[in-house]
Every structure is written in structure tokens, then in C-alpha cells.
């Protein structure tokens, strides 16, 4: 694979891997049994995507377990801790809407990622629907659920700008169609705005640039909770390097 395609596979693969790990942390802790299953389902879908993408970039286990924090290329959004249920749903709403639109564009294009995206669009559409349903219920639920949903959306808003920074390898430089990032941002904003307003909430205002700078996660600059997440995720592999299981 061309180096740029490897960079893109890492970026998309790390997004899926890291969010999958965060959702896995909900196992046994979801508000109801049915939601337990839904979150685990989404986590499994994402882990499946991560495995395919990281395998395109190299050895999936090595990439997941032996890279340092600075070598990960995921968005800062997906590494944010779960918080309460509304916080998790806000993160899901922002990211799954992005993924649905991005994979939709990739699936109709001619890049290396078109076949993968074509398979994943059905999964991410389900994730997006799940997040939308819960945003509506929490936002238009009780006074407390409304307040918690508002807090989740507001807290995570500053990490959303990074999603629209062009990803190396998906910019059409290799002769494929490439992703239309401004169009992606416009569709994302329209979709998320419609859902948030239908949920009787207000679209957050303020900068979308993130904790460090726009595109920081894609350059390996991460927020503090990410290091602790990796320590837990990589612990066993680093304790017994080279073991097979």
C-alpha cells in the first residue's frame, strides 16, 4: 500500500479501535440490559472495522498493542471518557454521524477503502440511528435527562472540528475521487443540528478546534485520559510480549 493509504488506514482504524474500547468499558454497567447489548453490538462492529483497517496498515495486534500514545492517529473525540450515559450518547451522535457521512462518500468512490466502506455503511447507519434515538429521548425526556444531554453535547463540541480536517490518503492525491471535506462538514452540521433541535436542545456554540489545535489527534497529540486508556488496553500484551492467544 502507498504510504498515504497506510496513513489513512491508521487514522480510520484508530478511530474505530479507540471508540470500541471506550464502549467496551460499558459492559456490565449500562442502564438496562437491552442497552448493554446495543452498546456491545456497536463496540463489536467498530472492533471489526478496526481489525480490517489496521490489517491494511500492518499487523493488527502490533499496531494496537505496541504503539505509544504519540503514534496513534485517532480523533481526540473518540478517546474522551464515557462520563454518564448522555455523555456517551453525545459522543456517539457526533462520531457516528461523521462516520456515516464519511463512509458514504468512500463507498461511492474508487479508493482502496471503497469495499470496506460499502460493508461498514450499514453498521454505522445503525450506530447513528441508535445515537439519534437516545438523543431525542434524553433531550426531550425529564428535566434532568435534558440537562445531562445538554452537558454532554456542550462538553464534547470542542472536539468536533477535528473531524473535518482532511485525512492524509483520503484527499484524492492518489488519483482517486477523494473525500469532499467541506461537503462532509456541511452535511454533518445539518444532520446534527436537525437532531439536536428535534430533541428540544440547542446546538452548542463556540470553537470546534479541540484541546490542543485542529487536527491534533490525527498528528498523535492526545488528551490526558487517552494514556490511561492505552495503559489498560495494552497491559497484558506488554507484560507478555510475543505470546500468542
Amino acid at each position: 500500500m502507498a504510504p498515504t493509504a497506510t496513513a489513512a488506514a491508521l487514522a480510520l482504524g484508530d478511530d474505530a479501535l479507540v471508540l470500541s474500547h471506550r464502549l467496551g468499558e460499558w459492559a456490565g454497567h449500562a442502564p438496562v440490559l437491552e442497552e448493554e447489548v446495543a452498546l456491545a453490538n456497536i463496540a463489536l462492529d467498530l472492533l471489526g472495522q478496526a481489525r480490517v483497517l489496521l490489517s491494511l496498515a500492518g499487523d493488527e495486534d502490533e499496531l494496537a498493542y505496541l504503539r505509544e500514545e504519540r503514534a496513534f492517529r485517532n480523533l481526540q473525540l473518540v478517546e474522551q471518557p464515557n462520563g454518564d450515559f448522555a455523555h456517551t450518547i453525545a459522543r456517539q451522535l457526533y462520531f457516528s454521524t461523521y462516520q456515516t457521512l464519511l463512509y458514504g462518500q468512500l463507498a461511492s468512490g474508487d479508493s482502496t477503502f471503497a469495499p470496506l466502506a460499502a460493508k461498514a455503511v450499514k453498521e454505522v447507519a445503525y450506530h447513528q440511528d441508535h445515537a439519534e434515538q437516545w438523543t431525542l429521548r434524553l433531550g426531550d425526556g425529564t428535566a434532568e435527562s435534558h440537562e445531562r444531554m445538554r452537558r454532554g453535547l456542550d462538553t464534547l463540541w470542542r472536539f468536533t472540528g477535528e473531524m473535518f480536517q482532511p485525512v492524509e490518503g483520503l484527499d484524492g492525491a492518489d488519483g482517486s475521487a477523494g473525500v469532499d471535506w467541506p461537503a462532509l462538514q456541511a452535511s454533518w452540521t445539518a444532520s446534527v443540528t436537525a437532531i439536536i433541535e428535534k430533541a428540544t436542545l440547542t446546538v452548542p456554540t463556540g470553537p470546534q478546534e479541540g484541546a490542543w489545535a485542529a487536527g491534533a489527534g490525527r498528528q498523535g497529540l492526545h488528551t490526558e485520559p487517552f494514556g490511561r486508556m492505552l495503559a489498560e488496553m495494552q497491559h497484558l500484551h506488554r507484560s507478555h510480549p510475543g505470546a500468542s492467544w
Partner: protein
């Protein structure tokens, strides 16, 4: 944990892709019909395609009483002439 009134019980009926009729698959808790459908897909169909799901609030189902089983079901059993197999078909009858 929510109270059972917020998350009532739903019965789930699933028709598989090549199935002819909906079969009772089980039950689940959900706040409303939309969520019940989505949960049923996760729990009972593993999102395989081409299936049809019905969800019904459990309170909407009226069941026959086990106590009345005898009087309810047996009259047909001890009156074999009520079943079509009781009658011999005369020779020469066609298209039956």
C-alpha cells in the same frame, strides 16, 4: 434501574427470512415501541437481513387460562366426528 412502568414488557414475534409466519421469540423491556423494535433486532435477530419483527405490549395480550384448560379445549377431542378425518370418503368422489 428504572421502574417497570417506565420500561414495560414487550413480546417479540419474528418471521425469519424464509419463514412463513411470525413466531414468538421472547420478551424484552423497552420505553416505547420504537426502542422495543430496535432492541428486538439486537437480541433476537442479530440484525440479519430480510426478517420481519412484531412487538406487542404484554398488557395487550389476553391468554387462555390454564385452569379452564379442560373445558376450553377438550370438547373437540372427545367428539371425533367434528374432525374431517372421521369420515370415510366414498369411492368415486373426486376433487376432495
Amino acid at each position: 434501574m428504572s421502574s417497570s412502568t417506565d420500561w414495560p414488557l414487550w413480546e417479540v414475534f419474528v418471521r425469519s427470512r424464509r419463514g412463513l409466519s411470525h413466531t414468538h421469540a421472547g420478551s424484552l423491556h423497552a420505553p416505547d415501541a420504537e426502542m422495543a423494535l430496535r432492541n428486538a433486532r439486537d437480541l433476537y435477530t442479530r440484525r440479519s437481513e430480510g426478517v420481519s419483527i412484531w412487538v406487542v405490549p404484554s398488557t395487550q395480550i389476553t391468554a387462555s387460562s390454564p385452569d379452564e384448560k379442560d373445558s376450553f379445549f377438550e370438547p373437540a377431542g372427545d367428539k371425533p366426528y367434528r374432525h374431517p378425518t372421521f369420515y370415510d370418503i366414498p369411492d368415486g368422489v373426486k376433487h376432495l
